[in-house]
Amino acid sequence: MKRILKIISYLGLVLTIVPSLFVFKGVFDIKVHYYLMIVGMVLWFGTAPFYMKSKSLNEKEQ
């Protein structure tokens, strides 16, 4: 399950950055980039919080 969540979240990051390269190359219109970034954002925030651990300094590192 964790692996699937990770794959989806990484896909979210890919959708955040890669479309901008296509806009730069003139393949995509900037509006497509806007929409894909929203999809990327939803994928990232829909999955990353479920597997990303965050230790405070008061907790011991494993």
Partner: protein, 495 residues
């Protein structure tokens, strides 16, 4: 010597930090991963959307910008790694307890009070950043300080109150969960900065990677200041990148964090925060600002430029970046203010800090002059870090006693007090003699040639102030300890 009121103030302050009084034990130490994650998350903040554009507006050239950031951030990393982390690892104490040993409780209270004020101001700047994005769907224009709008419209201020109140409420509930959320946001936020910048490059005539340097020189970092802004050079950019977090590294506030490090070399983890946030993100927000202006828009506010480059996701990024950094900042401000308000509950204190934060958010001049404010803030707190460094590493070699205030049971260390005031006033004077009208008039025709020839900006004064601070502190401490020894010896002879 001290009144009941004063001593109870110190007791309250001690009680507030009681849980962190003891040095960190070995089983609580953290490795590189924690520090890399922490620095990467903390230095990709809402204010990065302000500082990159500020450099563009100050007409810095491409060469000066890229080189200045490279060197300035390198100096910041070295300051964390060679000055701050070794102290944190050696003493394993928080900045509060370390200052208390060296400067005495009264000066530590002063430090806390001033720190609370500046934290509220910075939290306000972050709320301001968030509101510039929240205002967009409501069609509420962001205040244009450059065009003379010194006060936002009433609807904009209402939004600031709502956003600020939410942040204050969350800070009351505790900032651990928000801090966790901000770490989750960090990888995504970095990519939003980069994606927005890459997407708009074509708009300003950059069609290939080989074109970038030409476009950077001609369209982004043109070397021509906008409006009445002063001209920034390599030295301004380098000085600012170094000074930007001076309170944390050279000012030693981050020993509180590095007391959890296994080795002092973990100070180099700060490079991730500096080169992702204070290099990459500043370059990207500078590009976004230039493209936004080139498209015929005015008033490049964080929300507008992010929306322009990254659409809705960009606007969300600005809100999250402002919110996740304002929240812990406000929490820490509340902690510091609690010293002066002993009978207030934590929620009252945090809301009081929140009111100050919201007022600050409604002053567009704060973000328009954020580089200056951050500069003063860094120079103000930096001397105390210099004292800690000298006290721990150099005093034993000079035959002077370290932690003298604690060992002599002093309520206040006069060498630290006068050296702190003296070092900061030195910087204010060197900068002010050419930049404050009243001081320039006062000194007109009275300066010796060598002094008149020194034309230093505030951002150039990190190293000179550090040298002045340690020199004054060492001389004053030597006088203090020699006088005290002489007094003790003469008392012994008298007996």
């Amino acid at each position: 010597m001290s009144t009941g009121h004063k001593s109870s103030l110190i007791e309250r302050l001690d009680a507030l930090y009681e849980y962190e009084r003891e040095p960190v034990t070995r089983d609580k130490l953290h490795g590189w991963k924690t520090f890399i994650a922490m620095f990467s998350g903390e230095h990709i903040a809402g204010t990065e959307f302000v500082l990159g554009p500020l450099m563009v507006m100050h007409g810095v050239s491409a060469r000066d910008f890229f080189l200045g950031l490279l060197v300035g951030n390198f100096l910041a990393v070295l300051s964390w790694a060679l000055l701050c982390a070794p102290v944190g690892v050696k003493t394993r104490l928080t900045i509060y307890w370390q200052l208390r040993r060296i400067c005495g409780p009264y000066l530590t209270i002063a430090y806390s009070a001033f720190y609370a004020i500046i934290l509220c101001l910075l939290a306000g700047a972050m709320v301001n950043v968030a509101v510039t994005a929240v205002s967009i769907p409501f069609n509420i224009p962001n205040p244009d300080f450059a065009a003379g709008e010194v006060i936002p419209t009433v609807p904009w201020m209402l939004l600031a109150v709502i956003v600020g109140a939410v942040i204050a409420a969350l800070a009351v509930l505790g900032f651990e969960k928000i801090a966790h959320f901000s770490k989750i946001c960090a990888p995504w936020m970095v990519l939003v900065f980069f994606a927005g910048a890459i997407a708009v490059l074509a708009d300003i005539g950059c069609s290939s990677i080989g074109d970038f340097w030409r476009v950077a020189n001609e369209k982004i970092f043109t070397g021509v200041p906008a409006g009445l802004n002063s001209k920034y050079t390599f030295w301004h950019v380098m000085g600012f990148a170094w000074l930007c977090n001076a309170t944390q590294h050279i000012g030693m506030a981050d020993i509180t964090i590095f007391r959890y490090a296994k080795k002092w070399t973990q100070g180099f983890a700060s490079a991730f925060g500096m080169y992702l946030g204070h290099y990459g993100a500043w370059v990207c927000s500078g590009i976004l600002c230039a493209a936004y202006l080139a498209a015929g828009n005015a008033n490049p506010q964080p929300g507008n430029i992010a929306l322009f480059g990254a659409g809705f996701a960009g606007a969300v990024c600005v809100v999250i970046a402002g919110w996740t950094t304002a929240n812990p900042t406000l929490y820490r401000a509340g902690l510091a203010i609690q010293v002066a308000t002993p009978n207030w509950k934590r929620w009252k204190v945090t809301f009081a800090a929140g009111v100050f934060m919201i007022m600050t958010a409604c002053i567009p001049a704060v973000n328009a002059n954020l580089d200056r404010i951050v500069g003063y803030y860094g120079l103000f707190f930096m001397p105390l870090g210099a004292f800690i460094f000298i006290d721990i590493w150099v005093f034993p070699k000079l035959g002077l006693i370290s932690d003298y205030a604690q060992k002599a049971r002093l309520m206040i260390s006069w060498p630290a007090t006068f050296a702190w005031i003296g070092a900061f006033l030195f910087s204010v004077f060197i900068y002010g003699k050419d930049h404050y009208g009243w001081l320039s008039r006062l000194l007109e025709g009275k300066q010796p040639a060598w002094l008149a020839n020194i034309k230093a900006d505030l951002l150039f004064l990190v190293a000179p102030e550090w040298i002045v601070a340690v020199t004054l502190y060492t001389i004053f401490s030597a006088i203090q300890q020699k006088t005290a020894n002489t007094r003790i010896q003469s008392q012994e002879v008298g007996q």
